[in-house]
């Protein structure tokens, strides 16, 4: 099964290198460090994974209520996300589905691992939550494991990663409070994927920040289990001035 929300980190600022790229998960995204505009071969088929990814991404941004809501909130906060600047379809290693690169303010979609529109919608939502966190808070993606874990908890919680249906499809048949088990597990795995820490260290950090981050439901104000929940969240967001002005 695929993992999403793999955290990325930058290594070099103006040529200085403190730790290797591998320490920050860049190994999973081999195309990140190559020159961007390599031309395809002449014999390349017209409908490549890259094209398909771009199309599905566009469709997600235009039609997914979760994505549209997040984009709208970010725009209000001064972080308008443009498809051609803030999103990139690339080949990735392993089974990872996407990532957020704070160094370039870019969401990476793994064109070789995301083949269904529903999956694309969920990955985009997940990564947009990271982007949203980056936009509204001083998230120290690079040096603070708690911050990283926190954003992963939130992304797993709010993106639909841990929906009942998705868990069933992974043959995880929990029900009572299962959502939280799923969120914990996926956050843990995301942290382990991009940081060279032991499972014990990762678990300790996830446990430390879990209560705070699981209950941080911004910008939804609730765990969105359906498009209807997103509609309510959107309504609340439109109404926020009236709401806070009359408390």
């Amino acid at each position: 099964s695929s993992r999403t929300g793999v955290k990325e980190d930058t290594v070099s600022h103006r040529g200085e290198q403190q730790r290797s790229d591998e320490d920050y998960g860049y190994g999973l995204f081999p195309k990140r460090k190559e020159a961007k505009y390599k031309k395809g071969s002449v014999g390349e088929s017209l409908f490549t994974f890259h094209n398909k990814c771009q199309l599905m991404l566009h469709f997600a941004l235009e039609t997914s209520p979760y994505a549209k809501f997040l984009l709208g909130v970010m725009k209000q906060s001064g972080c308008t996300a443009y498809q051609d600047r803030h999103f990139s379809c690339e080949d990735c290693d392993g089974t990872v589905s996407g990532g957020f690169d704070a160094a370039t303010s870019q969401i990476v979609l793994c064109q070789n691992n995301v083949h269904r529109q529903s999956h694309m919608n969920r990955v985009v939502t997940h990564e947009l939550i990271h982007a949203f966190d980056h936009c509204r808070a001083h998230v120290d993606w690079f040096n603070n494991l708690k911050h990283l874990a926190c954003s992963e908890i939130r992304a797993a919680n709010l993106s639909g990663d841990c929906s009942f249906g998705n868990e069933l499809s992974r043959f995880n048949f929990g029900f009572k409070r299962h959502h939280q088990e799923c969120v914990r597990d996926r956050a843990l795995r995301s942290v382990l994927a991009v940081r060279k820490v032991t499972p014990e260290e990762a678990k300790k950090v996830v446990d430390e920040v879990f209560d705070s981050c699981f209950n941080d439901l911004a910008p939804f104000g609730r765990i969105p289990h359906s498009k209807n929940d997103v509609k309510f969240a959107s309504r609340d967001f439109q109404n926020r001035d009236r709401y806070y002005g009359n408390l």
Partner: protein
Amino acid sequence: MTAAAGAAVAWRPPRSCEDYWSEWKHCKSLWNRFHHYYAFGTSLTCRQWKADYEACREWEKESSAEAKELLQQSERARVAEQNKFAPVWQLRQKPPDDWYLPLDHSKPQDS
């Protein structure tokens, strides 16, 4: 006497009465109950939304101070519930400086 500049706008309920009604209906729905149990393992009580709706209607009819107080208390409790835990990070005052910077397509080893 004229009103001072920046005089407060008249108070009204934090949400429209229709919003309280639809939140109550939504809260009670099977779908929502199912997912609440899935997420929290507890059963849900939706009575507060109904109470808020009634207070809202009361306010619309009679502008009673009691209805206003009830609504304010209820909503403040909701906000407090959302802010129970200290945040892990510090919020920004403005968006990141480099959000719109053009991408650098040269390799990072270049200066």
